[in-house]
């Protein structure tokens, strides 16, 4: 039940786009058609589900203060947490590369659907941001970290698909000249964010 609660919270209340503005750049750049947006959303979800638990384990057994105690008690005072950023970004880049190869070998159809988006994801702030939030909140076990990654990914997927659908319709509406394109996307995202604030009070 707690896991389900965490899932709903990370999809709706702590939505990556509307509450934390993570992954905004690709969100604005790619959301021109629903099909490509859904593809990118799926790829992000996929990468998050893998990287967040892996980074959780790395954080727990390598980086956190006193985490090296399992090697020998002498290392119990070592604190490597200043290396967090560089290790996380390296792990993310490596996992994205690895996933690309695995998907290409085993499911070529999925690869052709996600293909072009995968390399882009290594520098998507939603991925690194999610890992950093995971570290900050200190989840209890790997399961929670994985559910948090899944929920955040799906929240991102929902947001980008919704804005893409709205932008497809916007093509036929009369918008002031200076506001066309990026400007109106910003304002609509803001309005969607206000709508999503309605979920704030939910507690399961």
């Amino acid at each position: 039940m707690e896991l389900f609660n965490l899932f709903v919270k990370s999809v709706f209340v702590d939505n990556m786009i509307f509450a934390y503005f993570l992954g905004m750049c690709s969100y604005l750049a790619v959301s021109k058609t629903v099909k490509t947006s859904a593809g990118l959303g799926l790829a992000v979800t996929f990468v998050l589900v893998v990287t967040v638990p892996v980074n959780y384990l790395v954080n727990k057994y390598l980086l956190a203060p006193g985490a090296l105690a399992w090697i020998s008690p002498k290392l119990a005072t070592v604190d490597l947490s200043f290396l967090t950023y560089i290790i996380f970004i390296a792990i993310i880049a490596a996992i994205v590369q690895l996933l690309e190869m695995i998907i290409e070998t085993f499911t070529p159809s999925l690869y052709s659907a996600l293909g072009i988006f995968l390399p882009l994801i290594a520098v998507n702030c939603a991925i690194l941001g999610c890992s950093l939030f995971m570290q900050e909140r200190g989840f209890g076990n790997v399961g929670e970290a994985a559910v948090f990654g899944l929920g955040s990914g799906i929240g991102w997927l929902v947001a980008i698909t919704a804005i893409a659908a709205i932008r497809e319709k916007l093509r036929y509406s009369k918008i002031p000249k200076g506001l066309q394109g990026v400007g109106i996307s910003f304002i609509i995202t803001g309005l969607m964010g206000i709508a999503f604030m309605a979920f704030m009070g939910i507690k399961l």
């Binding site: 503005f21 690194l128 000249k177 506001l179 304002i187 803001g190 604030m197």
Partner: protein, 208 residues
């Protein structure tokens, strides 16, 4: 001089990384509820952009093309770690407020974008100026957004009360919506609108 002007002043207006190129939006929106974190964030990004541009430009002849992304990430991450440790030591409360967004400077698209587009093909001094200009352009938008959000959201600037007490007694209220995340998006949208109305050549065609 003209080179200096072109590289440092242009990104403030015509090629502003935030409003024109739409890069680095994430952190731009999240840290602007108050002016102080926005200033710190702007300064940090400017330092990282300028120095990483300089370093990559110095290394550019030695970096193999195939692994350049990972080299860039390592250089940027190292600089960000330095900034993070510096903030923790000298401005602890601001660094707590910025939380994960300091780390997210690594994936800030402005930095990667400038490294790819400029530093790999220009000399060190020019790259340094270019990084400085783009960092300042980013900071400018950050400060404008934060100024309006803090003024209307909390009635203060840098923590000092600006709107006089008599206004509140006369029934003036702070607009609580300004502090909430969605308003940041709307404020940036309005800035883009004003800028593009003044410079019609930047307008996008919706029918494409």
């Amino acid at each position: 001089m003209s080179n200096f002007k072109k590289l440092v002043i242009e990104p403030l207006r015509k090629t502003n990384p935030v409003t024109v190129l739409v890069l680095g939006i994430c952190s731009c929106l999240a840290v602007t509820a108050q002016l102080k974190p926005a200033l710190v964030m702007g300064a940090s990004v400017t330092v990282v952009t300028a120095l990483s541009n300089l370093i990559i430009s110095l290394l550019r002849k030695g970096i193999p093309n195939r692994i350049r992304i990972i080299v860039q990430l390592v250089v940027v991450a190292t600089l960000v770690i330095l900034i993070d440790q510096f903030l923790k030591a000298f401005a602890y409360d601001v660094s707590k407020q910025l939380s994960v967004y300091v780390g997210l400077i690594i994936t800030n698209c402005i930095i990667m974008g400038r490294l790819e587009a400029f530093a790999l093909s220009h000399g060190p001094w020019e790259s340094f100026l270019d990084g400085l200009g783009n960092g300042l352009g980013y900071s400018l938008i950050l400060v404008i957004v934060a100024f309006f959000r803090e003024l209307f959201g909390s009635g203060t600037l840098l923590g000092y009360q600006v709107i006089p007490q008599s206004f509140y007694e006369a029934g003036y209220m702070n607009n609580g919506l300004m502090i909430l995340p969605p308003m940041a998006l709307i404020v940036v949208g309005i800035i883009i609108w004003i800028q593009r109305t003044r410079h019609p050549e930047m307008q996008e065609n919706n029918q494409k």
